[in-house]
Amino acid sequence: MRILVSTLALLLALGQAAQAKLRVVTTLPDFAAIAAELGGERVEAEALIRGSQDPHFVDAKPSFILKLSRADLLVRIGLGLEDGWLPVLLTQARNADVQPGGRGYLDASQVVRVLEVPVKADRAMGDVHGGGNPHYFTSPEELFRVAQAIERKLLELDPDGAEEFQARWRAFEERFRQRTGAWRRRLAPLQGMPVVEYHRSWIYFLEWSGFRSAGALEPKPGVPPSAGHVTRLLREVQGQGIRQVWQEVYHPTGLSRVFAEKSGARLLVLPSMVGASEGLDTIWDKFDRMVELIAPPG
């Protein structure tokens, strides 16, 4: 009995010790990577979604309730992308700070420029999001806006760390300026390139990079590609000079590979999120890899 009590006390003490840092829980791994970069040692950042996972379909694991119950800040994607799993976790989190409207709640979609906002949302159009396309995290520019909002929250929640947060922000801003310049220069020769997407996940990156979407393999968002639709799409894009087909790591590649072969394009399985594959630990790694795959050297 004494051993049990001592063990419990030790575990609770360990839990308390870990609370010294600002606990940031994010749904998207990119947000956690940004928070870790901006917060340094003052922040403990953790993402609920894995980079290789479809963010639409995440299990509402009870362990996430625990993380949210102890979080100082929640950063979510918003626009309905997490509606199938996050609300039930938030309700059970017993943490007023991370509820909508709480001081530790940040819906990142509120600070980005949302594209494809439907005038009328109808499920006959597929799994559309009434607030607009939620895949803004494929654009460096939109992630920069989210980083600004995270910085504001860190300053608000931990004013004692202002000096460090501001220094880190200046480094982040400078790095962003340099890296985006390099990425744009690398992608510039491909300006205007038509791309076929698997899901409408890439429109933000396409807009940022100056490419254009020639269509999607999914006939409607969330509806898996059918042979009939893909055949029609193949006819439609003939003569447009399609050179690349883009998709996330979590979608099957069978049909898209055949489509790419028949249309004379390359199939690129791109990392839409940090952690989508080995070695992609920061947003810089993610976009470096994307640019490398889209515009390989030579």
Binding site: P87, G130, Q148, G222, P252
Partner: protein, 414 residues
């Protein structure tokens, strides 16, 4: 002039005046500012947090979504089946499920949920098809110390199956154990619940619940009797409530494996004799494998085990019976789900006055194939075979189910 027109004009005038009144008040305050209030406001402003550091800050684009609405999130979920059975009524399909040939409207659920204010959330589930309330309760959002309370009409927090609504089932029928130990639909009632998320480093939740057993409050229970069955026929004291307790824990093994364990208990009034008691115990295990790091993440396999043990006082005796099920669900890709379930019920001791509901043996096996065109529709084909103590032979059943969900479908628990 028609009286309705006169009323309409007065209504419009009143509405305009009402809407304009706050603006007028605000202007009046600013023109006649109290010096003391102004000084306090200035002091507050000076003490406010410093603005963010200079840089290329952007104002939040708060108006970029048309979803800014205070209406509850609502959805309608329809379940219809077409069934064929070798012996009508022999499979004991339970509430919501058909056990006779032909079409059955299993359910038309209307769900609504919304935050009430920063402190409470409200959830509603109304069964339109059978015109009864399934759940309507509030949940606290901001109690300290890991505590949370719910109050209202709700499903008992017992085991894995009882809290789940029809549209979250992976088979067309509830388990035999659920029907026998919980209720034909749900073990549910009007009451209150307090749960505590312990401060341990892993998820451990302790929960207690008390439900009113008045039949008039739509108390639904297969194992427990309504308070009307007591000698007085009224709720005389705390002993006439139904009490439940649950302890659950969740252990993730890496990203791919999850183990969810629960133990439940319920103590209440026997349905077989006035002022006799029933003790019900339950254990549930849910083991899931979903490889997140290896390609398309729609592949998942889950094993569910649920076991019940019940002691029921009957006139001059005590009956102990038990039962449970084992279920395997395999999500083979985004659109296809295969579910298998084997289940058994039996008596352990005591002479049962009603073997169909207490102590009699019964078994059933089920296999279901579900096709999901999208996340919002399902087509399911299920085969059942089963037998029960008081029946003359085994029965088979085939069921085709269609389920559609319209509206903002809410999140589901793990």
């Amino acid at each position: 002039m028609h009286p309705a027109h006169t009323h309409g004009r007065w209504l419009a005038l009143t509405t305009c005046l009402t809407l304009l009144a706050p603006a007028g008040r605000a202007q009046a305050v600013s023109q006649e500012e109290d010096p003391e209030l102004a000084a306090a406001a200035a002091a507050d402003a000076a003490a406010a947090p410093a603005p963010p550091p200079p840089g290329s800050w952007l104002a939040p684009l708060v108006a970029n979504t048309p979803l800014a609405s205070l209406n509850p999130d609502m959805s309608l979920i329809l379940d219809v089946t077409l069934g064929w059975f070798t012996r009508a009524g022999h499979l004991r399909q339970g509430g919501h499920a058909a056990d006779e040939n032909g079409f059955t409207l299993q359910g038309l659920e209307w769900t609504a949920s919304a935050s009430v204010d920063p402190y409470f959330r409200f959830d509603l589930n109304f069964q339109i098809a059978h015109l009864h309330l399934e759940e309507a309760y509030l949940t606290t959002l901001a109690l300290p110390g890991g505590l949370q309370a719910r109050a209202g009409y709700m499903n008992a927090a017992f085991g894995r199956e009882n809290p789940k609504h029809l549209h979250t089932w992976h088979l067309v029928n509830p388990s035999l154990a659920h029907t026998r130990f919980m209720s034909a639909e749900h073990l549910s009632g009007l009451g209150a619940e307090v749960s505590w998320l312990t401060p341990l480093p892993w998820y451990v939740l302790l929960l207690v619940q008390a439900l009113d057993t008045h039949g008039a409050t739509a108390f639904r229970a297969a194992s427990f009797g309504a308070v009307e069955l007591t000698d007085s026929g009224e709720l005389d004291g705390p002993e006439d409530f139904l009490y439940l307790a649950r302890l659950e824990t969740f252990v993730p093994f890496g990203d791919d494996w999850s183990l969810y364990l629960g133990g439940s208990a319920a103590f209440g009034q026997s349905a077989y004799a006035p002022d006799n008691r029933v003790d019900l115990w339950g254990a549930d295990v849910y083991l899931k494998w979903r490889p997140l790091g290896s390609g398309p993440d729609s592949l998942a396999v889950a094993l569910t085990l649920e076991y019940f043990l019940r002691d029921t006082q009957v006139p001059g005796d005590s009956v102990r019976d038990h039962g449970g099920y084992v279920q395997v669900d395999a999500q083979v890709d985004k659109r296809w789900l295969v579910s298998l379930r084997a289940e058994n019920l039996d008596g352990l001791w005591g002479a049962s006055p009603d073997p169909t509901r207490l102590g009699g043996w019964q078994w059933r096996g089920s296999a279901a194939l579900t096709f999901l065109p999208t996340h919002f529709s399902k087509l399911r084909l299920q085969l059942d075979a089963g037998h029960a103590q008081e029946l003359t032979g085994a029965a088979w059943g085939f069921t085709l189910q269609v389920e559609v969900s319209a509206g903002s479908h809410g999140a589901h628990a793990f």
